[in-house]
């Protein structure tokens, strides 16, 4: 299965390379940066049509933004610098997000307060959820204590 998938992806990549090199005609590329400065937590459908509803930064966005990034990271970069994502998802980060942004004390912000005690339970609950930020292969953050 892995071999067939690799072949399929390789074929798709060749198509992509052909399109890239040839500079085929097609829809105009999106802007690299959002042309208007936005306030925090924008509701994209306030200006764009319903197709952009999946990007609305509403109450569920903290939990759903990961899947949007998996599908289209470049869409995130229209509004966010790469450093913005790295603040939580940079595998070598030393400052936890709530320490960098103490004003964001919301229920969905991870590691607020005394997480050292909490993580003993949450880590047993589902350690796969830890790896969203701490990385699946790079367990360096955990290894500081768990040696």
């Amino acid at each position: 299965m892995a071999t067939r998938l690799k072949s399929a992806l390789a074929g798709a990549m060749l198509l992509g390379a052909a399109a890239f090199i040839g500079g085929c005609t097609g829809p105009q590329s999106a802007a690299l940066v959002h042309p208007e400065k936005l306030e925090s937590a924008p509701v994209c459908t306030s200006c764009h049509d319903a197709d952009y509803a999946v990007y609305n930064h509403d109450l569920r966005w903290m939990k759903s933004h990961g899947q949007a990034a998996v599908r289209n990271q470049r869409g995130c970069e229209i509004c966010h610098q790469v450093s913005y994502c790295a603040d939580c998802h940079g595998n070598r980060e030393e400052i936890k997000p709530t320490d960098k942004r103490p004003d964001r004390f919301s229920p969905s912000t991870p590691h607020r307060g005394d997480y050292l005690s909490q993580h003993q339970v949450d880590g047993r609950l589902d350690p796969a959820s830890c790896f969203t930020c701490h990385g699946r292969k790079n367990e360096g953050r955990c290894r500081i204590c768990h040696q």
Binding site: M1, A2, L5, A8, L9, A10, A12, G16, A17, F20, G23, C24, G26, P27, Q28, S29, L32, V33, D49, V54, L59, R60, S64, Q67, A69, V70, Q73, R74, Q81, V82, S83, C85, H89, G90, E94, D99, K100, P102, F105, S106, G113, D114, L116, Q118, Q120, V121, R124, L125, D126, P127, A128, G135, R136, K137, N138, E139, G140, C142, I144, H146
Partner: protein, 431 residues
């Protein structure tokens, strides 16, 4: 380390050479500096005063249209006791040159990249990335390079390559297939494949999810899906979640002793959430999640929150109860947060109370309170100061403080300045 230094020198050289060119060209340049001094100390223990500096630069349409450059990284120097067993540390998080074609969002990036695409999750590597939209709703991403992560013996991994292809129709669906392979010294150490899905067949119905397949083991490692219905009447949203994880195939060669007990475990997690806009700025939410394991006993998590917000002020109360099979896996958490803006100053505060069913280090509760303010000294400069005090099972007294200075400098494209010049010229003509 050597590759990092070389990349850092490349970045610095690129910036030094490019700035005068950029200043004379049509293009936008943004610099951001963030300085953090998170002070922390515990009774009878070490006092940490690390000084962090985060720098980032973003440029668009320099030298030629479509060309962009991004770089960012940080450095630390300890002003008191050592932090994380070393006096200094730093990281070049990303530094790449990119070009986007006028059509099809066709794009090329070269340098240190941070990538999320399909099974690639926050992969940081030095290499090349190609991406493009294609006809009939297809898009494709391909990448290859050398991973930046360091193995436990201090050496970097060898090479990494992969890609993602997806097909969809905006506003209706998108289905993606992806693959990633990592090799070291000729040996394949990671081989992963996956799917990602977005379905919005009718208004107010959205299904998203990912599935992750460990191609080395030929086993599915994780499925994670979410169903969102609403908002009804603009106020009510219902969310259902399901995730299944096989830890034996999810973790790649874990050497972390905290994870090895889980290698024979499978988790089935299902949950539901309800969010209701009550009006007058109030929102009410609640949820329940069931954790069911093959080996360990079950666990249930209950959450509730009440929030209120207007243009200047927001406040929230939250509650979370984790009820595991054993008393050591049970706790309750209550949180409070308030934030308000008075002119250019934003005041904020929060509190947290934890109660554990089984004592940790002889203590079965934890309390924390914090206060702070952020002062915007204009559009480009903000200063934040905050303090936090707590008592918890690890430390009878723990204090933290933060001083943060964020400075941003933007250089607008000269074409805007020319417009002002034209206006001045017109004014001159009117005289």
């Amino acid at each position: 380390m050597t590759r990092g230094i070389a990349l850092g020198i490349f970045t610095l050289a690129a910036v030094c050479l490019a700035v005068p060119v950029m200043a004379a060209s049509a293009g936008d340049i943004s610099f951001e500096s963030r300085t953090y001094v998170p002070v922390s100390g515990v009774d009878g223990g070490a006092t940490h005063v690390p000084l962090y500096e985060y720098l980032s630069i973003d440029t668009e349409d320099v030298i030629r249209e479509g060309l962009f450059f991004r770089a960012g990284g940080w450095g630390r120097a300890d002003l008191a006791d050592e932090t994380y067993n070393r006096k200094t540390n730093g990281d070049l998080q990303y530094a790449f040159l990119g070009w986007r074609a006028p059509v099809l969002n066709a794009e090329m990036r070269v340098g240190r990249l941070s990538l999320t695409a399909g099974v690639a999750r926050n992969e940081v590597f030095d290499g090349l990335l190609l991406g493009s939209d294609l006809p009939a709703g297809f898009d494709v991403t391909a990448y290859a390079g050398m991973p930046v992560e360091i193995k436990q013996d201090g050496t970097p991994s060898g090479s990494l390559f992969g890609g993602r292809v997806s097909q969809g129709r905006q506003g209706m669906y998108r289905i993606g297939l992806s693959f990633l392979q990592e090799q070291d010294s000729g040996t394949t150490i990671r081989q992963e494949a996956g799917t990602d899905l977005l379905l919005t067949p009718v208004p107010m119905l959205e299904i998203t999810g990912t599935s992750f397949y460990n191609a080395s083991d030929s086993q599915w490692a994780r499925h994670d899906y979410r169903l969102t219905v609403g908002p009804f009447l603009g106020r009510v949203r219902v969310i259902g979640t399901w995730a299944q994880t096989d830890y034996n195939h999810f973790f790649t060669d874990p050497k972390n002793p905290a994870l090895t007990p889980l290698l024979n475990e499978k988790l089935n997690r299902t949950g539901g959430e309800l969010e209701v806009g009550l009006g007058w700025g109030f929102t009410l939410g609640g949820g329940y999640t069931a954790y069911r394991y093959d080996v360990a006993g079950p666990a249930d998590v209950y959450t509730a929150r009440l929030g209120w917000a207007n243009k200047l002020t927001s406040a929230g109360l939250g509650f979370r109860q984790v009820h595991g099979d054993d008393v050591e896996n049970r706790y309750r958490e209550a949180t409070l947060n308030v934030s308000t803006k008075v002119g250019p100053v934003r005041l904020f505060g929060g509190a947290q109370r934890l109660e554990f069913d089984e004592a940790i280090n002889g203590v079965n509760n934890s309390t924390m309170g914090s206060l702070g303010l952020a002062y915007a000294m204009g559009p480009a400069l903000e200063i934040t100061a905050s303090g936090e005090y707590g008592q918890n099972p690890e430390f009878s007294q723990q204090f933290k403080g933060l001083l943060a200075v964020t400075w941003r400098y933007d250089v607008a494209a000269p074409k805007e300045k020319e417009t002002e010049k034209e206006k001045d010229t017109e004014k001159e003509g009117d005289k």
